[in-house]
């Protein structure tokens, strides 16, 4: 997680916790781990945000939503700065955020150290079904409806489901 410097900034973080991910509205942009810092600069408040995937089409909308939420709470003149270092990882998602994802019907990411992407044709432990908890599941595709998700099928409850990829 990231440091929250002052009481004034703590209030800003509270506002940001109310900004949903447009693609996965069950979690906030803070839950997602993409808000990296809140700080004051000479020309006003700056929110450092790091992108999830390079091509994620939601990033522009997220920037607008952050500025919009701050404006709605009377915080004006803030701007969003895109930062690239360190690169975003799903390891920054809290356990509470993972549980929100599961309750929403998306299997949460495992720890990235668990996900050996190479060698080919082999997978780590199967992803647990978010509906019935069974691990009798198959990966259908590493790519899903958004850049951050993969497609799976549960052989116990016969439901297709999505998994938030560990990256």
């Amino acid at each position: 997680m990231v440091a929250r410097a002052t009481p004034a900034h703590e209030a800003i973080w509270r506002i940001l916790e109310g900004v949903s991910d447009p693609e996965v509205p069950a979690i906030s942009v803070v839950d997602l781990g993409i808000v990296r810092a809140v700080h004051d600069e000479a020309d006003g408040l700056v929110i450092d945000v790091t992108p999830t995937y390079s091509g994620c089409p939601a990033m522009h909308e997220i920037e607008q939503a952050i500025v919009g939420a701050l404006n709605a709470h009377g915080v004006t003149g803030a701007r969003v700065r895109t930062v690239f270092t360190p690169a975003w990882t799903t390891d920054w998602m809290s356990d509470a955020a993972r549980e929100k994802l599961r309750a929403y019907g998306i299997a949460p990411p495992g720890r990235t150290s668990d996900s050996a992407l190479i060698p080919l044709m082999r997978r780590g432990a199967p992803v647990a079904c978010p509906f019935c908890g069974s691990r009798a599941t198959d990966t259908r595709s590493d790519f899903g409806s958004t850049a951050c998700k993969s497609l799976h099928f549960c052989n116990a409850c016969h439901q297709p489901f999505e998994h938030f990829k560990a990256i």
């Binding site: 930062v83 690239f84 992407l117 595709s141 590493d142």
Partner: protein
């Protein structure tokens, strides 16, 4: 394409700036052209899951191109942003390797092209994460993670096709043979690469050639496919000498931006 800010923390003199601009165009143009090519599969892939996968890979590549070209525009400092670089340059100004502009062919051709490219990209990005240039390192770290999925996806398809039916084996072996002559260019280095690599800013692509060959050979062996003998190698993309295919691709990619300059949607 959306805007962002990059912190360029190291000071560059005029010559370094010119080198870095050239290097960033190579990184960006490879991905922009391949991303556009892969996106041509949208709505045409053999199964729905594959349609989604290819669209996602295209999106990753175009997203990476956006970041590299944005940084290129900032380094050049002549007022060109990523859109100006993507939509308002001519074929002779593009610095991508010839491999990425080759037409899609059949599904096996596309997977072989992707595998050969993504393996090289992954190996370069792995080292580029440690660039002395912080913006470059940060974009590389993100793209590296994405490239691992691309290697796995295309590599697994090569194994399925190669170790599949007689027909799929023969066809994907033909794809490997036909694509082979475009792979040498992936590892060619010039003075721009060498100067920037010596400063710890860039990765000289020739240093990943052996690792690429070893990992690629292992996958082809698993797929019961034969690695072609080294032979004639096509080159010229880095110097702007492209096949006719790039011109057709750019015509389609650039037509809207050029017909409606300044339009937003």
């Amino acid at each position: 394409m959306t805007a962002g800010e990059h912190a360029v923390l190291i000071h560059l003199d005029e010559a370094q700036r010119a080198d870095l601009f050239e290097y960033l165009l190579r990184l960006g143009d490879d991905r922009l052209v391949l991303g556009h090519r892969v996106s041509e599969w949208c709505g045409h892939a053999p199964i729905l899951e594959e349609d989604i996968a290819l669209s996602n890979i295209a999106l990753d590549l175009i997203g990476q191109a956006n970041l590299w070209l944005q940084l290129a525009g900032q380094v050049e400092a002549k007022g060109r942003d990523q859109d100006a670089l993507a939509y308002f340059r001519e074929a002779i100004d593009f610095r991508n390797v010839l491999l990425v502009e080759t037409p899609n062919g059949d599904f096996g051709d596309t997977m072989v092209r992707q595998f050969f490219y993504s393996m090289q990209a992954m190996l370069v990005l792995e080292q580029l994460q440690r660039s002395a240039h912080t913006s470059l390192a940060g974009i590389a770290a993100k793209a590296y993670k994405e490239s691992r999925y691309h290697v796995r996806h295309s590599g697994e398809w090569i194994i399925r096709l190669g170790d599949g039916t007689d027909e799929s084996h023969q066809r994907v072996q033909r794809s490997v043979n036909d694509t082979w002559r475009f792979t040498g260019e992936l590892f060619e280095a010039d003075d721009v690469d060498r100067r920037l690599a010596a400063q710890g800013i860039a990765v000289d692509p020739s240093v990943v050639r052996d690792a690429w060959h070893a990992q690629m050979s292992e996958v082809l062996a698993t797929a019961t496919l034969t690695v072609p003998n080294a032979g004639f190698s096509r080159r010229g993309g880095r110097a702007g000498k492209h096949s006719e295919h790039l011109g057709h691709l750019l015509a389609e990619m650039q037509i809207v931006a050029r017909s409606h300059p300044g339009a937003t949607w």
